[in-house]
């Protein structure tokens, strides 16, 4: 399902941590759609030579859709999307965004919610928390950050959450004992992780070791596509051949040629854009396909994955 994008105005920009800027969007006309905790939007950045479209979690209270707020961490090794947001976007600018979609909703029947955030991964939880408080849910938030770079929203979290908040500043050598944290949870607890891949990998590994059911472990990784080698892609049905530039994702190249694929996350998570591969080897970079599916080399997630060599032929 391709997205219907609409315009919003940047109403405010605030530096909420040394490397993180918060952007507040207001509607240009009408009102913004309501959204649910854990929702994200796609933000289109009118960069040259081609626009970027990145997914960002909405971090405001879901019961208040007068504004949308997102937080963007400057990524040193990005293709330029976060840099564009930090350096080009000004208050009063108009940007195009998608309607909210949700791939990271709380599991409401859980007996307890254990939230583990790393750095800018705090953002989706900021939309969980007001709803947890209203619904009197049992929860704990464990927030791991480096205060020299990240660690946004600590003060307001302290005020709002009290005992439910646990802070770990690795710039001050504070560590979270994830094994002990998971080991002391009682059955019926659901754990949610948002942060760097290493944090997600560690928590999911520990949870598995400790015998947690997989259905009780939830995580979100929104990493925008990373650059790679240029390659060419042949579309079997239309006969077109496209060039994919090093800084461009395969999905963006297809969209640039007028081929719309369904997509929600543009980060290798949701599985919507999966496409059949007829020729060529794939460098899989997604978190959606299983190891077995990846080894078959017969499909690709064009939002993040690329050709291993110089050529791919797709069933499009």
């Amino acid at each position: 399902m391709s997205h219907s994008m609409f315009e919003v105005r940047v109403a405010a920009i605030e530096e909420v941590a040394p490397m993180i800027r918060e952007f507040c969007f207001e509607p240009v006309q009408g009102s913004l759609p309501s959204f649910s905790p854990g929702s994200h939007i796609l933000v289109e950045m009118p960069a040259r030579p081609r626009p970027y479209r990145n997914a960002y979690s909405l971090l405001s209270d879901p019961r208040d859709a007068r504004h949308y707020r997102i937080a963007v961490r400057l990524q040193e090794r990005s293709r330029g999307g976060s840099r564009f947001m930090h350096e080009q976007v000004q208050c009063g600018d108009n940007l195009r965004i998608s309607a909210p979609a949700n791939l990271f909703a709380p599991y409401w029947p859980a007996k307890k919610h254990l939230l583990i955030a790393g750095g800018v991964g705090i953002t989706p939880f900021l939309s969980f928390l007001p709803e947890f408080v209203r619904r009197q849910q049992n929860f704990e938030l464990h927030y791991l950050f480096r205060s020299q770079q990240t660690g946004a929203y600590r003060d307001s979290l302290r005020q709002g959450l009290g005992q439910a908040l646990h802070l770990y500043d690795s710039s001050q050598g504070q560590r979270c004992d994830l094994h002990a944290l998971l080991a002391r949870q009682s059955p019926g607890t659901h754990v949610y992780i948002c942060g760097p891949q290493s944090l997600i990998d560690t928590v999911t590994f520990l949870a598995q070791e400790l015998g947690w059911p997989r259905s009780c472990v939830h995580f979100e990784t929104f990493t925008a596509a990373q650059p790679g080698q240029a390659f060419s892609v042949e579309l079997a049905r239309s006969g077109q051949t496209l060039a994919v530039e090093p800084e461009e994702s395969l999905l963006e190249a297809l969209e640039g040629a007028g081929v719309d694929l369904p997509n929600l996350c543009r980060g290798g998570v949701c599985g919507q854009c999966v496409t059949r591969v007829l020729e060529g080897a794939v460098e899989h970079r997604d978190a959606f396909l299983s190891a077995e599916e990846k080894s078959r080399q017969d499909c690709i997630m064009p939002c993040v994955s690329r050709a291993q060599g110089h050529h791919l032929k797709l069933d499009l």
Binding site: M1, S34, A101
Partner: protein
């Protein structure tokens, strides 16, 4: 020219239900081809659709509104468990209230009015002579639990599907006119679980493809499909709970009474993302037409004959048509020049 709600008719006992010529003209005939095949026949529910058609608005109100609300009341009196909502679905119920009320007040201003001042809402349903003031989101300010409150004012069955783990769960609904399925039985089940009894389609991967599509439906982009079966008499409530009251009817079809006894039952199913809860609203709007009304359209009569004649035996069995299917095919043959 739109058709207006008419006086109450019955879907049981004396079966006074009838379709006006206008209702027949707008009946959603579901067969695009001579042979019925399974497909994921989902398309965007773009509104407004053609004026006067069942696709014009998000929710279709027709001449049977009062009759269906009266029938729903009878079913709920007999068995209150035909409406349920698990505690975590409260917000989803309020999403549905908003969607229905805003759509009704916009699309049918002659029948419904909604005034909103912040969370203070005033709702008027002129067809049911109802006026309520309540606080949006606060279920204690409604005269009934939110699902039952809104469900008693809108035609068709409703399920609210909670979305988690990339799957959908039947965690709330009001189902008083089902084609032989039970909300109480399916409650809490996942998408593939509640479709468990459907033959052939699992092997074809239909449900995997459909689920992937459904979980990605964004806010404000509803989709629809048609489903169908056959029902004996104009009975809305063909549920497992009431099976003793209607199961035997299937043995009552004779070559002489097919026209009045057998009804084509079409469901207009709409799936619509709820913004605050991320639930998926699944509405099932049921239309009934008797064979004698249906064959007033020669193209429909001919098409239905061919569809019935070529229907795979598994589907004849699954849809519960075995007892009267040969009689029906024979009766329909008279309308098909190829025979």
């Amino acid at each position: 020219m739109r058709i207006a709600p008419k006086a109450i008719q019955t879907f049981r006992d004396d079966f006074t239900y009838s379709n006006s010529p206008g209702a027949i003209a707008r009946f959603p005939f579901p067969f695009p081809e001579d042979e019925y095949r399974y497909s994921v026949n989902i398309e965007p529910h773009l509104t407004p659709g053609p004026e006067g058609s069942v696709y014009e608005h998000l929710f279709d109100i027709d001449e049977h509104y009062l009759s269906e609300m009266a029938e729903r009341n009878l079913v709920l009196q007999e068995n209150p468990k035909r409406c349920l909502a698990m505690p975590h679905m409260d917000l989803a119920c309020w999403d549905m209230i908003e969607r229905v009320m805003v759509a009704f007040a916009t699309d049918y201003p002659e029948y419904f009015a909604l005034t909103r001042e912040g969370n203070h809402w005033i709702w008027e349903n002129k067809l049911l002579n109802q006026r309520d003031e309540f606080t949006f989101g606060d279920s204690s300010t409604l005269p009934l639990p939110p699902m039952e409150y809104i469900g008693r004012q809108v035609q068709g069955d409703f399920a609210l599907l909670d979305q988690r783990e990339g799957d959908l769960f039947m965690d709330a609904g009001i189902v008083t006119c089902p084609a032989d399925w039970s909300l109480a039985f399916d409650a809490g089940m996942s998408f593939s679980e509640w479709h468990g009894p459907v033959p052939l389609a699992h092997e074809m991967g239909v449900f995997d493809r459909a689920l992937k599509y459904l979980v990605a439906i964004p806010v404000g982009r509803p989709v629809r499909r048609l489903n169908w079966t056959l029902t004996i008499n104009a009975r809305m409530d063909t549920s497992p709970e009431t099976y003793p009251a209607w199961g035997m009817d299937r043995a009552s079809v004779t070559p002489d009474n097919v026209g009045e006894k057998v009804y084509l039952r079409v469901e207009l199913q709409v799936l619509d993302r709820m913004p605050r809860s991320n639930a998926l609203m699944f509405s099932i709007r049921t239309y009934l037409i008797s064979m004698q009304d249906l064959v007033t359209r020669p193209d429909w009569a001919k098409r239905l004959h061919r569809v019935m004649k070529t229907l795979p035996p598994e589907l004849v069995e699954y849809k519960g048509l075995s007892r009267f299917h040969p009689t029906l095919v024979q009766w329909l043959a008279q309308f098909d020049p190829a025979n």
